[in-house]
Symmetry: C2
Subunit: 183 residues, 2 copies
DNA sequence: CCCTCCATGTAAGAGGTTACATGATTAT
DNA sequence: ATAATCATGTAACCTCTTACATGGAGGG
């Protein structure tokens, strides 16, 4: 799903400004399957408005910049429906972290240990953030994706915690293989 | 990691042609954290050669098109080392599948069921492919990422199998909510 | 005083995807 | 026959990402 479809989906849950859409997309469970920045959202909204798929109204606010609140048009709703009927493309996952772990036989042991510890801490933060907003997730589809996220973060956290020592021991046993980076 | 860094990493495991690099990148555990096509690899190799980070030699082959086998230069190895020292950026995960499940309250029940079943079948295929090449994964870092992938596919498969019925029942209990797509 | 939140956008550039172009060999 | 594998590349396009630009309000 491109930025335009994501904006349509966000607006199908209720009228919102670009800023509010960004916040929605950053929260679980929306943030479990995409990561979209302002630089994609604002141009997407401009194009959607040009195509007549959404309509925006400027709203003055007390002590705040004006905001432009968008809502889906009938055409926009139809476009979203059409997008939902397409067969899903493959998932794409890109991870610098796992790339580094893949290459970790060329890295100093303490760096590897610190990378894993930092990642465990990140997962813990994410799990705390999820606990804080769990009550707001009510629709069955949203809940399904939310629980998928929970499962993912918990499983990955456990994997890292359980295999950290084993990795460090295997490295030691294998000896200093083709070390690219000096220790 | 961009396509250039991935090519350097692949070549650090042994000399290879563009076609062979693509095959390596498509196999577990390399395919667990990236997804890079020919359209990225060939231009990346051209630019790396221009920068003197790799060197290529054309090799004639019997009954096959010529292939250009690349190897890392000292400068290329240094560049890879430098890349490995950068702090990792955030993971990025994009999934049409989970987007559809997120929106699944607007989809017919049988479509949802079929989407989940198809995905379970995909995970099964991936797990079979992994079993077939498990023996080749020997380096500790490679093994760590391989087992991460195993854990991921198994966990996700189990999640889908375990929660399929619950999702369908909750949808039924909630009634036909703001159905975008007619059943 | 500084940071974060609110709020919207543009511009340039990097990077990647898709389709095109070609063609022999081998397995089903 | 037909599909897959081997093998390399280009060109156009599209999409993001990043940085810039602006600025008040409120909390620590």
């Amino acid at each position: 799903m491109d930025a335009k479809t994501l904006c349509l989906a966000a607006l199908s849950l209720g009228d919102a400004s670009g800023y509010e859409i960004k916040k929605t997309l950053d929260e679980p469970p929306f943030n479990h399957f995409q990561d979209t920045g302002f630089g994609s959202i604002y141009p997407a909204l401009t194009r959607l408005a040009e195509e007549g798929l959404i309509e925006g109204t400027a709203q003055a606010q007390a002590k705040r910049p004006d905001k432009k609140v968008f809502r889906l048009t009938a055409a926009g709703r139809a476009r979203l429906e059409a997008a939902l009927q397409d067969p899903p493309g493959p998932d794409r996952f890109r991870s610098d972290f796992f790339f580094l772990l893949f290459m970790s036989d060329s890295l100093p042991a303490d760096r590897v240990a610190r990378l894993i510890d930092a990642r465990i801490a990140e997962y813990d933060r994410e799990l705390e953030a999820m606990a804080a907003c769990e009550a707001e997730v009510t629709l069955p589809g949203h809940r399904f994706v939310f629980d998928f996220g929970l499962t993912y973060y918990r499983t990955m956290r456990a994997y890292l915690a359980d295999n950290r020592e084993r990795l460090l021991q295997r490295r030691a046993a294998a000896g200093p293989a083709g070390t690219l980076v000096a220790e």
